[in-house]
């Protein structure tokens, strides 16, 4: 008998005014009982609409059936047939616009909590399974993966399982990409990402950190070193600024810089860790995506009194995951919607003291179908802040492109690939993730890593 409750089984969470002072994970995860109860809300639909909403087509009803039966290990195996990072996706996928969007239970009431169940299964497996030494038949062919974000990690994992000698080259001192330097600890514990990386190493993937490809080695030099194929998963790390006056004042950060200082360099543990971050008392975060929410919630946790999200469209258009918006509000983040910054104001010594904004109203729909915000007359006003964090998006870093002959890219920097394979204009070189699409999602990056791994295998077999 299915559980016909219209609501998801609630996820235990830290209380908002406790958690907005620490960096521990906000959502605490289901117990086995909660998971089984939620799993029973799934109707096991014959046509599986939910599966079509998942970019890697996780076998959703099948794994949920296993959860309902208490067969957690089998559930894990089912999920990992198509998704190699379920503990991460269960936490950060925008489920409401993917798998859960198409769930029939969502027509009347809340959809099945597919993401939470996926997270439960992955966490259960990490705690309860015993690592088994898997023996893989090696084929002796070397493949290089550049960048260790979700795209690179997934591609490397699939290739090593196919027998290739895989080396990942990572620019930073720590692998993991945005999972390590961007998404904060309170949303995605780093120990968990580390576990995924460690299990890749156990399978034999070699990770060379501190290697900025394009600087220390070019793609052609990698080829000379015997790598028969390459995957570029270098992400979209180039921060966009607004081009308004005052952006170089002291106290203006890109979200990348602010979050890198905090997550990767652990500035929240300064001075035990050597990297400082200056948070200030009143903070404006410009933008409305996941990155903006993460920056705002991090600033709050580091002691800022008032943290504003300044976003030029309305609540409906906020691109962040619903759960993050909801969490941000609970934690006391103040939303200044339909508000657009025009200038950052500084003191005589060059420190931020305010941000000048105008109010917007929604006009006619633009090419993206969203109503275009237009400036309201005489609506200029100043918000008093001492820190401004710009979180209006990132573009692919031009480093690889500028140092690689024959690699075609779009004007905006994205690497051009054949969609079905990830093949670039350069023989034997594949690409995927944010480096190709511009800033997108973890699951899409993973999917691209998988697609490319398959294509690389086919390419090398026919070689």
């Amino acid at each position: 008998m299915p559980n016909m409750s219209p609501d998801k089984v609630k996820m235990p969470e830290q209380e908002p005014d406790v958690r907005n002072k620490n960096f521990l994970e906000v959502a605490l995860g289901y117990t086995p009982e909660m998971a089984q109860e939620e799993a029973k809300r799934c109707l096991q639909c014959k046509n599986k609409p939910c599966v079509a909403g998942c970019p890697v087509n996780v076998k959703i009803p099948e794994f949920i059936q296993h959860v309902a039966n208490g067969e957690f290990e089998k559930a894990y195996e089912k999920i990992t047939e198509t998704n190699s990072l379920p503990a991460i996706c269960g936490r950060v996928c925008p489920q409401e616009s993917q798998c859960e969007k198409l769930c029939v239970r969502g027509i009347k009431g809340e959809p099945v909590a597919i993401g939470r169940l996926e997270r439960f299964v992955a966490d259960w497996f990490m705690q309860n399974s015993k690592p088994q030494a898997k023996s893989i038949q090696k084929n002796g062919t070397k493949v290089a993966v550049i960048g260790s974000g979700p795209a690179g990690l997934t591609c490397a994992g699939d290739l090593v399982n196919l027998g290739y000698d895989v080396t990942i080259f990572e620019a930073f001192h720590t692998p993991g990409g945005v999972l390590m330097y961007g998404i904060p600890e309170f949303r995605l514990p780093k120990a968990l990402v580390q576990k995924e990386i460690d299990s890749l190493k156990q399978l034999g993937v070699e990770i060379k950190t501190n290697m900025v490809i394009g600087k220390v080695l070019s793609l052609d030099e990698l080829k000379d070193e015997g790598y028969k194929a390459m995957f570029i998963g270098t992400g979209a790390g180039l921060p966009n600024f607004m081009g308004i006056p005052g952006e170089n004042l002291n106290g203006v950060y890109s979200s990348n810089e602010f979050l890198t200082r905090i997550n990767l360099m652990k500035a929240y543990l300064f001075p035990q860790y050597g990297t400082p971050v200056k948070v200030g008392k009143n903070v404006a975060v410009v933008g409305g995506g996941n990155v903006a929410m993460d920056a705002a919630r991090s600033a709050k946790r580091l002691g800022a009194e008032n943290v504003y999200i300044v976003y030029r469209r309305s609540e409906k258009e906020l691109p962040a995951r619903l759960e993050e918006i909801h969490h941000a509000k609970e934690e006391g983040i103040i939303f200044k919607l339909l508000t657009n910054p025009t200038k950052i104001i500084g003191t005589d010594e060059g420190w931020v003291k305010g941000i000048e904004c105008v109010e917007m109203e929604l006009g006619e729909p633009d090419s993206s179908g969203r109503r275009r915000p237009v400036v309201k007359k005489n609506s200029e006003h100043i918000i008093d802040v001492d820190t401004v964090i710009i979180a209006i998006g990132q573009s692919p870093n031009p480093l690889i492109k500028s140092t690689t002959k024959g690699l075609d890219t779009h004007d905006w920097g994205g690497i051009i690939v054949e969609e079905a394979t990830g093949a670039t204009s350069k023989e034997g070189v594949y690409a995927g993730g944010d480096a190709v699409t511009g800033a997108a999602t973890v699951i899409l990056a993973m999917g691209a890593g998988k697609t490319a791994a398959k294509a690389i295998d086919e390419y090398l077999r026919n070689d």
Binding site: N248, N250, E257, F270
Partner: protein, 281 residues
């Protein structure tokens, strides 16, 4: 891990280290830098590549102990390891067609200027070097600079060695004596680079300065290192660190360098406490 194969003290607070880093050594060029992290608690610290030996696979750094990170680095000894060492970063200096150049080094800036002087000298250019220090105890790389230059002038603020006065006075003299330079390279404190740039502007001498803003990744990913050059925002780690001195907004750069002053003091004090604690234990 990157082994320290050689350590030397050049002046009381300035040390030289040769680091085993074969990949970096293979590609390094004058004008480029590395970023290192001493240990897992460490910040990412940018330092210029002072020299390299491709055969030996080593990279030389010269650093002044100014705060917590550089002091911890200075405490490491030969045979010990540095946790992270990434490079070469930044754009290499371009010297095509330079026949005669003046290289100005201010204090530690001399260490950053040295590989450029050496490269120019090796290319057959005539190099006049003017290096300034506060007093004679702080003089570094005198013999190296002298080998790389056909003329070397040392100034000290107090006259305790060489000429008393500023590097700009000496440069002005050389220019007025009729020396025509294709290029002036000025590396040192921002205030010095600004003064040199202001001096050469009316003469129309191309002047390159090396900008050292606070950096973190060094790969163009954070924008923390932005400097305004010719009215445009540039990222010093990928567009520089060398820029046209006549175009740089030095006043903004000076302000931006003060961003973490209070944190830096706190970090250093905390570090001293920790050291005290260790000796007590």
């Amino acid at each position: 891990m990157y082994k320290i194969v050689k350590k030397e003290t050049l002046s009381p607070a300035v040390k030289l280290m040769k680091i085993n880093a074969p990949y970096v050594a293979r590609k390094a060029e004058p004008g480029q830098f590395i970023i290192l992290r001493v240990d897992e608690f460490g910040e990412r610290c940018p330092l210029t590549i002072a020299d390299y030996d491709r055969e030996e696979g080593t990279v030389t750094i010269i650093f002044q102990e100014v705060g917590q990170t550089t002091k911890s680095l200075g405490m490491l000894e030969e045979g010990q390891d540095i946790l992270d060492f990434v490079g070469p970063l930044g754009v290499a200096s371009h010297f095509e067609g330079i026949k005669k150049a003046a290289v100005i080094g201010g204090g530690l800036g001399t260490a950053i200027a040295y590989p450029q002087a050496k490269k120019l000298h090796e290319m057959g250019a005539e190099v006049h070097s003017i290096v300034g220090f506060r007093n004679k105890d702080l003089i570094i790389l005198e013999s190296e600079m002298s080998k790389a230059s056909s003329k070397l002038i040392i100034t000290t603020d107090d006259g305790s060695n060489g000429t008393k006065g500023f590097v700009t006075d000496e440069l002005k003299k050389l220019i007025e004596e009729g020396n025509t330079y294709d290029l002036v390279i000025a590396i040192g404190p921002l205030i010095m680079m600004k003064a040199v740039s202001n001096l050469t502007r009316p003469y129309g001498i191309k002047t390159v300065v090396s900008m050292n803003p606070v950096m973190i990744d060094g790969t163009g990913m954070c924008g923390g290192c932005r400097v305004t050059v010719g009215g445009k925002t540039k990222f010093a780690c990928v567009d520089g660190p060398d820029f046209d001195g006549h175009e740089v907004d030095f006043d903004e750069a000076m302000r931006r360098q003060l961003m973490y002053k209070n944190h830096e003091r706190q970090s250093l004090e905390d570090h001293k406490c920790n050291l005290g604690g260790e000796t007590n234990a």
